[in-house]
Amino acid sequence: MSVLQTKNLTKRFDGINAVNNLSIDVEKGKITSIIGPNGSGKTTLINLLSGMIKIDDGVVSFNGSKELSKIQPYQVGFYEVTRTFQEVRLFEQMTVLDNILVVLTERNVFNSLFEKHKQYHLKKAQEVLEKIGLWEKRNQLAVNLSYGQRKLLEIARVLGVDAEIILLDEPFAGLFPEMVKIVSGIIKELKQKGKTVILIEHNMDLIRELSDHVFVMDEGKLLAEGEPHKVLEKREVVEAYLGE
């Protein structure tokens, strides 16, 4: 069952089509990877799907919603979408705990002023932070964490949101092997819970290990798709990577 669908999705930057007439279908409950050489449009795609940048042409639909040609960032939560960022975007001057709490609390202006669920949110935050091992550091400012810890905190953030569709933009970049294990463990767990994970990644071993389905992008277009071991052997795919 398709949980995310794009039709003729296009984004232009200065005359170049960063995402070019892209039509893909993402299946529910599976781990889908998006791979491709640098500049193929992967992050642009994630940015379009999460409302960070405007769609120029084409539509997106989530979970059978009506086709959207405009996505506002604050609406993606309604469509059960959440994401991490390639360049880690934490709230630097806030504590680890606050970074998680802020995605748990009431989204409505009035309700957030008179928040009624403090204890519940605190418990949830503790759960999530303990899972990645940062609960002891909960009162430290995010800016003081190590790179690996920051990446983990970003992941904890999406765990806290508990959305159905999770977009991860290079979650493994720059991580030590122990942390890679933790993150792949989390991703597998998400799949067990029935969540849909869309993953941008460069590490082919991880792609093979984790993905159910792979989309290969090149120059904004879909180059190939299918099961990992089949796709990664295709000539066009190898050439796209070598040619960059």
Binding site: S50, G51, M52, Q72, P73, Y74, V76, G77, F78, T82, R83, F85, R89, L90, F91, E92, Q93, M94, D98, L101, V102, V103, T105, E106, R107, V109, S112, L113, F114, E115, R157, V161
Partner: protein
């Protein structure tokens, strides 16, 4: 003693202004240089109502708050279209527009002549005409606004403000319509500034446009940057410092007619020095 009370009243008024501006600049990260406009709207509301109608001080405060909130709502909507430097610039523009209103809408404000003869507050027969009683009133208001601000800042709402300051686009993706949050805090802050304005009008018993220029907004900004952005106690410290320091100069022998200019030189230079050497101010953690 009277002199000390006078300084303490000024301190309360400016600390109130500082606390309110800090909510916008320190906690939400919006460089607003238009606060004097809302200060002035509150002052003029009280001035006009107290001198031309039978409306009492406390009711005029409420009307002043409403006027400032409406104005800030409209201004806030326009400002929300801008980022950073343009935001600051546009806010300067609005301060100028409202100042022009004070100066030129003479039928209402008497323009440069100002409005004299504003009476002191009266509550259930009690008259606040003695400076000491007025000081107690302004301190009570300061404490009230201080604790309201603390409540806001420590709530989930306050956490969202800090996230907006940190990375607005990122917090949006997590489901927050940040425009509503920014507008809300802007309006609340403007209402608080209006209260300070009403106090000012009634204390000095005279208002004229010159108290609500862009330089006044810059002064309030200097207070909170000096004290330390997003630090509530820092604001108190900053206000104390910037009210007392120019007064200390008087004792060193500067003639009173250049006192206002000296104050301006001081807080202007302090802003520059802070930017160069200590952008987080005295107590602050957050650097611009």
């Amino acid at each position: 003693m009277e002199y000390f009370i006078h300084l303490a009243i000024l301190f309360s008024i400016y600390a109130t202004l500082g606390v309110s501006l800090n909510l916008i600049v320190g906690y939400t990260g919006l460089l607003s240089v238009t606060h004097a406009a809302f200060y002035g709207l509150g002052a003029y509301a009280t001035a006009i109502l107290l001198t031309t109608t039978g409306i009492g001080f406390f009711l005029s405060v409420i009307i002043g708050i409403l006027v400032a909130m409406v104005a800030s709502f409209l201004i806030g909507i326009v400002l929300s279209k801008f980022d950073n430097d343009y935001y600051a610039l546009a806010s300067l523009g609005f301060n100028t527009i409202i100042f022009a209103l004070f100066l030129n809408w003479q039928s209402l404000t008497r323009g440069p002549l100002g409005i004299p003869g504003i009476s002191r507050p009266e509550l259930f027969g009690f008259d606040f005409s003695s400076n000491l009683s007025f000081l107690i009133l302004s301190l009570i208001i300061l404490v009230l606004i201080f604790y309201i601000s603390k409540f806001i800042v420590n709530s989930s709402f306050g956490r969202v403000l800090k996230a907006i300051r940190g990375d607005e686009k990122a917090i949006q993706v997590f489901g927050y319509n940040t425009a509503y949050y920014k507008l809300t805090i802007f309006v609340i802050s403007a209402g608080m500034a209006a209260v300070a304005g009403s106090l000012f009008a009634s204390y000095i018993t005279f208002v004229d446009p010159s108290s609500f220029t862009v330089f006044e907004s810059i002064f309030i900004l200097a207070i909170i940057i000096l004290g330390g952005l997003s630090n509530m106690r820092g604001v108190i410290l900053g206000a104390l410092f910037l009210i007392l320091l120019p007064e200390a100069l008087r004792f060193v022998g500067f003639p009173p007619d250049i006192a206002a200019q000296m104050r301006q030189v001081i807080y202007g230079l302090i802003l520059v020095l802070l930017m160069l050497y200590r952008p987080q101010g005295l107590l602050g953690e957050y650097k611009l």
